[in-house]
């Protein structure tokens, strides 16, 4: 059996969780064993409708009187106790911030290794796996020998594959035994962002500007284009370091890793550290004065030209309905 942590928004599983299930299902199928999903929070039961179509056999909503909201250690402890009951071959978590954090705790609790950011896993007594390093600019082939095997999936790398005739997963609540210590770290409160518009991580269109933008005011046409396309603005590390944009806008190795339908890279050269942040994009359009810039080799489409002329022209053309 494989035990997978599934995250959700009010009963709708997150994209990263569905990506993870592709991996979980593959491992379970090799051993002809079921996939069990551990699901936390309000709406956990409701995930059963969707999760069946992604190969989950049983949903175990984790409920506890003192567990209200995210508490990393308590989530990990619940997984450990569930694993104790189910004796899974592997415990998996999505490649999200929470998934990585919870799995690190599971690894510490069980004193077992964790293979983070996995791309492929060949089942067996020991797993032969590949995982991302350097944000995905290197692939590590590794061997994991552990009982159970603990893994997280690389984000935006695995295809989401619904199964035919999956049906609805069964639902059976699980109540862990939690101590005060397990709940010492928890979200005390949530401060809503006063930023308007689409969050970077969810935008279908990201119009991103790098050093070539030249200054904070240079982002105005990028904002205009993003607005017209229902998207949002991103930035390279170079631009953030210059203080032109807040760090929350940064795309790359130490910023956001995003997966929009299109990434419009304006005045961005395309260094590895940047590209690992946007390689999840379904397509890339590069606007750059340098026809030999590295980004030109990574993009699907390119415009050779000055972004300060090209972007306003595109904005104008959209407004005119050309």
């Amino acid at each position: 059996m494989t035990l997978a942590l599934v995250e959700h928004d009010d009963g709708t599983p997150t994209e990263l969780s569905l990506e993870l299930l592709s991996l979980a299902r593959q491992l379970a199928a090799a051993a002809d064993e079921p996939v069990v999903a551990a699901v936390f929070g309000e709406g956990a039961e409701a995930t059963a409708a969707t999760l069946g179509d992604h190969g989950v056999d049983a949903v175990r909503p984790v409920t506890h009187a003192n567990l209200d909201g995210y508490a990393p250690r308590a989530w990990a402890e619940s997984l450990v106790q569930l694993a104790d009951e189910l004796s899974p071959e592997a415990v998996l978590a999505p490649g999200s911030d929470r998934g990585q954090e919870v799995m690190a705790h599971v690894g510490a609790s069980l004193d077992r290794p964790v293979a983070a950011n996995c791309l492929t896993v060949a089942p067996g007594a020991a797993y032969e796996l590949t995982r991302q390093r350097w944000g995905g600019s290197l692939v590590e082939h590794a061997r994991l020998e552990s009982d159970p095997k603990l893994l997280t999936a690389a984000a935006h790398e695995l295809a989401i594959e619904p199964v035919d005739g999956g049906g609805e997963a069964t639902v059976e609540p699980f109540e862990p035994t939690l101590e005060a210590d397990h709940l010492a770290v928890r979200v005390a409160r949530f401060e809503e962002s006063d930023e308007e518009g689409v969050p970077l991580g969810e935008a279908r269109v990201v119009v991103s500007g790098g050093r070539g933008v030249g200054g904070p005011e240079g982002y105005e046409p990028l904002e205009a284009l993003a607005d017209l396309l229902g998207g949002t603005v991103g930035a390279s590390r170079a631009a953030v370091n210059e203080g032109w944009r807040p760090h929350a806008d940064q795309v790359g190795l130490t910023g956001a890793k995003i997966s929009p339908d299109i990434y419009i890279a304006c005045g961005i050269s395309g260094a590895i550290q940047h590209m690992v942040g946007c390689k999840g994009a379904k397509s890339i359009l590069a606007i750059n004065t340098d026809p030999d810039a590295a980004i030109m080799g990574k993009a699907d489409w390119a415009v050779v030209g000055d972004l300060h002329e090209v972007v306003p022209a595109v904005v104008e053309a959209i407004r005119n309905g050309d």
Binding site: G107, W134, E191, I262, A294, K298
Partner: protein
């Protein structure tokens, strides 16, 4: 007063393309400089800023080869008070061995740090584990991925960015906090500070990797097949606008 430990890792300063050694066990760093991950530079900056606010001291620590003293000296130049090298023979230590060595050294030194800072994940391995494992070994609370940290009356108020806002955590010190770039702007150490740091002593101690069940072993590294292909050039300059609009409307369907 806060006594802060900032833990860092020496990593190659990779350029546009990563080259591997012939046996594919490591990055060929013969033509590369070394640095630390941006998250960790922010961990040092956060440490010295908290000490500037509350008083106390900052110690910078790494598990790494002799040469990692270079990155520790960067920390000293950023006004950290002390540095400690847990010296290895240069082979890479995994997150479990690294965490064990750090926790064991902190315990052996009997040094009750109030705050232990780490980068959220290392630039190279990105295992997301060392901070959490150290916290657990020392029996301390741990918050990760933090981009804003305030200490008030022995409580760390730590904020983590999530979609649509920030989660706020409040944990009693002593605690482990892993930080992300953006929490602060690391200072640029002056030439004078660098010169002084070069003279400062960096004590080294032998790290203890510990022993534990299960194994994670590197087999080999691989540079993924470059998906490099020339982009379709839609045109030059503003004249390309109609073609861009066509792609956005008909191919990407976002118009």
């Amino acid at each position: 007063m806060v006594d802060v430990l900032a833990c860092i890792k020496r990593v190659p300063d990779t350029g546009a393309k990563i080259v591997l050694t012939e046996d594919a066990q490591d990055i060929d760093a013969s033509n590369l400089g070394f640095t630390m991950s941006p998250h960790e530079e922010c961990a040092i900056e956060e440490a010295v800023q908290q000490v500037e606010t509350h008083g106390g001291s900052t110690t910078v620590l790494t598990v790494g080869p002799d040469e990692a003293a270079e990155q520790l000296r960067t920390g000293l130049a950023m006004t950290a008070d002390e540095a400690v090298l847990l010296e290895t023979d240069g082979a890479e230590w995994g997150p479990r061995a690294t965490a064990h060595a750090i926790a064991a050294d902190v315990e052996a030194q009997g040094r009750p740090y109030d705050l232990l800072l780490f980068g959220n994940e290392s630039a190279d391995g990105a295992n997301y584990q060392v901070g959490v494992r150290v916290a657990r070994a020392l029996g301390l609370p741990c918050v990760t991925g933090i981009k804003d940290l305030t200490i008030e009356d022995g409580v760390a108020v730590a904020k983590r960015e999530v979609t649509g806002g920030v989660e706020v955590y409040e944990v009693d010190l002593p605690a482990v906090v892993t930080v992300k770039e953006g929490i602060n702007s690391p200072r640029y150490a002056s030439m004078r500070a660098r010169m002084q740091a070069r003279k400062q002593e960096v004590p080294s101690r032998e790290p203890d990797p510990g022993e534990r069940p299960g194994a994670f072993e590197l087999v080999r590294l691989e540079t993924p097949a470059e998906g490099d292909s020339a982009a379709v050039v839609l045109g030059e300059g503003p004249a390309a606008a109609p073609e861009v609009v066509r792609v956005l409307r008909d191919e990407v369907e976002v118009l």
